[in-house]
Symmetry: C2
């Protein structure tokens, strides 16, 4: 499943010294998500997460100047403590978004020393993958993964 479209995927993976349930909570509890989901100095003033297949999420990011950037998505698959799949192809079930850009496949696997955390971002086109990489995917998601790691250490 995970390696059949490598030319359209961007992947971040980390071994994080925390249990799977804490990482899952950090992704599904809005109060926790707000604390790590945007690379500082960006913030997340609003997060609504209806975590079930067909449920919508809405996460607003804000830059230091106060500009806000709302993001919408719909969960496609939810397996507690193990796996989340969410796409921006829909704004809510099943209203197509303006532009299907990506599907995020998150997995939390038990591993020696903690949890193997993998975020696979799958795009519809190679051009979108390239654009996402050029927008700073690796740096942005890497910084967020640092923030996530710090947060779950406190849970």
């Amino acid at each position: 499943m995970s390696t059949d479209t490598p030319e359209r995927d961007l992947v971040l993976t980390r071994l994080i010294p925390a249990s799977r349930d804490k990482l899952y909570r950090a992704w599904t509890d809005p109060a926790l998500l707000k604390r790590w989901f945007a690379p500082k100095p960006y913030t997340v003033p609003e997060a609504e997460l209806d975590v079930r297949p067909g449920g919508a999420n809405r996460v607003v990011m804000q830059d230091p100047q106060g500009n806000t950037f709302p993001n919408h998505g719909v969960y496609l698959e939810v397996v507690e403590n193990e796996r989340l799949v969410v796409t921006d192809a829909y704004v809510r079930a099943w209203e197509p978004s303006q532009k299907p850009f990506m599907t995020l496949i998150l997995t939390f696997e038990e591993a020696e020393g903690g949890t193997r955390y993998t975020a696979r971002v799958r795009h519809w086109t190679e051009a979108d993958r390239a654009a996402h990489e050029a927008m700073g995917f690796h740096e942005g998601w890497g910084r967020c993964a640092d923030q996530l790691t710090e947060l779950v250490a406190t849970l």
Copy 2:
């Protein structure tokens, strides 16, 4: 839910004198689907339907000259006898297709005289909706609805 994107939707609706479960079977049993899903003289030589959220389907249509046209999709929502949602944005869970074109929302509602059958086809763009209409959506889906009506009368 059903009326928030009318400018991107194509809709077929019929009152069909049959119970909801027969219509649902005609959509979910491959042997039955093959008998009505393509407007004659087209045929459906192959149909594989993994009817569950995240399950894939593959339906091959064939023209009288023997040319075949495979269609792939993934079920997003499955409520027995009531509702099916399937999209061609994925080939299988969760591999993006070459072109996200439509999401089909099928509903089967109890009504005086049978079942209110509604197929709402929702596109990502107004251009795709227009192209689909120009390709003969209303005639094609109308003829298939006739074939479906004939089939369920025999069940």
